[in-house]
Symmetry: none
Subunit: 226 residues, 2 copies
């Protein structure tokens, strides 16, 4: 749930933007002034910033520059002025995009998504690797480490581990695992899961007979304990 900060002095516009973008799935904080925005952003850094240029007190350009000094959060300007000079000045100040009021919410939302997609790359990379004790799972590389050494998993074992990892701590029934790992049309022997769980344990558990992470929940299924 990405956090969005709206800086806009007009109450009606601020509210309508807020409602529209909350519908799009953002967690929105809105403030009427640049000063309040900086305080808010320092306290709760946002993932995206929407800023009006015409603000009382510190104006939008200064606000952008101040934000830039705090970090490299994506900034979109929403302005009533459709003027090349303003666009250039805002972008030079450090904004990432500039849209003109009245804004089409669909377009604004699409621009925010595009920007987030672009920004997420350079931002602090989301560590795709997941750890469970000594087990380190790297979906990108298709490999698994047990402590320091790499262990080789077959495709089915790997998927099985991934599915369990996706629902860490939760118990998954054999049928659920059949659905997710093997496909939706498999109604075969549920014992198949047991066999692969066993094979998986032999590879990723120090003591396969007394598993520390790939655990059996008798009568229900299996779970991965962190």
């Amino acid at each position: 749930m990405p956090r969005l900060l709206i800086i806009e002095d007009d109450d009606r516009i601020r509210l309508s933007l807020r409602l529209a973008l909350e519908d799009e799935g953002y967690t929105v904080r809105d403030v009427p002034t640049a000063e309040a925005a900086l305080t808010e952003h320092r306290a709760h850094p946002a993932d995206l910033v929407l800023v009006d240029l015409m603000l009382p007190g510190m104006d939008g350009f200064d606000c952008i520059r101040a934000m830039r000094r705090l970090g490299d959060v994506p900034i979109v300007v929403v302005s009533a002025r459709d003027d090349t000079h303003d666009v250039v000045a805002a972008l030079e100040a450090g904004a990432d995009d500039y849209v003109v009021k009245p804004v089409a919410v669909k377009e604004l939302s699409a621009r925010l998504r595009a920007l987030r997609r672009r920004a997420s790359g350079s931002g602090e990379d989301a560590p795709k690797v997941r750890r469970f004790g000594e087990i380190e799972l790297r979906p990108e590389a298709g490999e698994v480490l047990l402590g320091e050494e790499q262990v080789h998993l077959t495709r089915t074992e790997f998927r099985l581990l991934c599915e369990l990892a996706d629902q860490t701590g939760r118990v998954l029934s054999r049928q659920q695992l059949l659905d997710r790992v093997w496909g939706y049309d498999v109604y075969g022997d549920e014992r198949l899961v047991d066999v692969h769980i066993g094979r998986l344990r032999r590879k990723v558990e120090r003591d396969p007979a007394n598993p520390a992470h790939v655990l059996t929940v008798r009568g229900l299924g299996y779970k991965l304990s962190p």
Copy 2:
């Protein structure tokens, strides 16, 4: 000197964009069709792409999607249509920005700068020499060294190695490799990849039967291990 690729079928607009942006310091290549753009981009990847939506043959949306499959180069749409639906569709297809003709060059240039600033973090610039054990890859010179001695790779083998190197450690499926090495429109036999992987191994691996770097991930594809 950033490389810019312009895709625009109108000769006059293409030329004026080219001249204006060369003034801004870009090294410009321009083409009239999406097909030509894809060929050009595969041969000489650009740092930025400017694309018109209304193109003869493959349209701008498909062009954007095809570009996206090749890499994450920043893409700016320049269109005569000022329509929210088009903006949303273009951004959803993978574009980064959308400006409406007639464009103010100053604004376009500022938007390109803002985009480059944002993208440069994740974008891999300066393709330097890369090493993988005894394998030394020099994309600029188009040559590969195994230990001290230079080995001759064919064009296809070289591209294959480069694509794997660009995503070191990550598994690439046969289809992904077909897309990036052979072209987006190849739906032919995926086994083709296997053959070239084999030929590549014979040249860059000390023991081709037990490859140390060009590794198979059974059921998924291939990866290059560092």
